[in-house]
């Protein structure tokens, strides 16, 4: 067992870059391999969160729009 844990981040009602800042704050407390599921209402997250993941070495697993909400799941990298 690798100890990987799953975390939810509710960023609904927040405008970018606040969802990214919240993701950054959460990521600082996690370890490589942990999963984060972020839900937001600002469509900007569909661009910003993957961009933030790329510059920090995290992996976006899925991203989708569903009922006017944006769901992004990413895995914390080793960087």
């Amino acid at each position: 067992m690798n100890g990987m844990s799953k975390h939810s981040l509710d960023a609904r009602g927040l405008l970018c870059p606040i969802p990214v800042i919240r993701a950054q704050e959460l990521a600082r407390t996690l370890t490589a391999g942990d999963l984060v599921e972020l839900v937001a209402t600002d469509p900007g997250v569909m661009h910003d969160v993957p961009a933030w993941c790329r510059v920090h070495g995290h992996d976006v697993i899925t991203s989708k729009e569903q009922d006017d909400e944006y769901l992004i799941q990413f895995k914390i990298g080793t960087g």
């Binding site: 405008l15 870059p17 990214v20 469509p43 900007g44 910003d48 790329r54 510059v55 920090h56 006017d68």
Partner: protein, 351 residues
């Protein structure tokens, strides 16, 4: 391994071209550069395009993140929205053309870049900014450069690679961490040297916001902000106050209240998030905006507010429209009102 391999710098990344170039110039000298970007609450960064329906075709990228990606560096976004209040409300060096405290802002950001917990964790040797002497009238005057270095506490660990040749050598130059001969002497408002350098580095599609990256340089936004402070009777604000100044049509018919009227579906949707905290108006009989009422309106004020909002609905030419008023305690009332005519809405009501 070069002697520079272990030197680390933190670069202020605003999302504009100059800060991206400054970071790149230093990276080219083998320095390990990290980016920092600050969220003040007044940042332009995508907010309006995220809210307004008509901007939906525009890409909704965060320019600071985009720059970091182009540069291949980590970017740490620091939320300074709370501490920033004192900078905006009590700027030691005063305001620029509007309510933009650019000089105090730059001093604060350089200080945060060099003295924040993030900086302490990483042990940066110096700070890099994209400042160019004469580029901006308030914060990038020649006389302002030493003030920023001194008052930020960065001193001669503050390096401006794009205009370094016009300034005294800084510690990184004197110590040989960076080669001064490979820095630049840009000055003034001419953008050609930066465009040429961007081309040299292969940067395309970079952002060049005319008023910078801050809403406080916008005269309409600043007017709304000044109105908010005046109406509240105190120099204070919350983050939601300044976020709402970016949204909707703002009208203040009396000192007792202000209307924030959604201008399209995107803004209505955004305002929905605030409906439980404000007295709000929704059209029932016709298509129309969602409206928040900020302040303490009396019954006559609420009726006037409804008649104004009706003017901005599809029922503007109807004899009467029906509207739902909802108070923050969830009490509701359906009311019929006659829309105001255009001549009954004085220009001075528009904030």
């Amino acid at each position: 391994m070069t002697p520079n391999a272990k030197r680390k710098a933190v670069a202020l990344i605003s999302g504009g071209l100059d800060s991206m170039l400054a970071a790149k110039v230093i990276m080219e000298q083998g320095i390990d550069v990290h980016g920092v970007n600050f969220f003040t609450g007044f940042c332009v960064e995508g907010h309006t395009s995220a809210i307004r329906e008509r901007h939906k075709i525009k890409p909704k990228r965060n320019n600071a993140l985009w720059c970091a990606e182009q540069l291949g560096i980590p970017l740490h976004i620091i939320d300074i929205s709370n501490e920033y209040k004192d900078i905006v409300l009590n700027p030691k060096h005063g305001y620029g053309q509007h309510l933009n405290p650019c000089l105090d802002c730059k001093i604060f950001m350089v200080n945060q870049a060099s003295a924040s917990a993030y900086a302490a964790d990483h042990g940066f040797d110096f700070v890099v900014t994209g400042e160019v002497i004469g580029q901006r009238p308030k914060s990038q005057r020649r006389e302002a450069m030493p003030v920023i270095a001194r008052e930020s506490g960065a001193g001669d660990r503050l390096l401006r690679p794009l205009c370094a040749l016009n300034l005294e050598p800084t510690l990184p130059e004197r110590e040989g961490w960076v080669d001064r001969a490979r820095l630049f002497g840009f000055h003034g408002r001419d953008r050609k040297p930066q465009i040429e350098l961007a081309k040299h580095f292969g940067f395309e599609d970079f952002a060049q916001p005319a008023g910078g990256c801050c809403f406080l340089t916008d005269k309409y936004y600043s007017a709304k902000f000044a109105d908010l402070l005046r109406a509240r009777g105190k120099r204070d604000y919350e983050l939601d106050d300044i976020m709402l100044l970016k949204v909707g049509r703002h009208m203040r018919p009396t000192d007792r209240f202000k209307l924030i009227i959604g201008r399209d579906q995107g803004e209505n949707k955004y305002l929905l998030g605030y409906q439980k905290r404000f007295l709000n108006l929704r059209m029932v009989s016709h298509e129309g905006p969602l409206t928040l009422i900020d302040g303490a309106p009396n019954d006559q004020d609420i009726e006037l507010a409804m008649r104004i909002v009706a003017r901005y609905s599809q029922g503007r030419n109807a004899d009467q429209v029906e509207m739902k008023v909802t108070w923050p305690d969830r009490q509701e009332r359906l009311v019929r009102v006659v829309p105001l005519t255009p001549t009954e809405i004085p220009d001075e009501w528009h904030v």
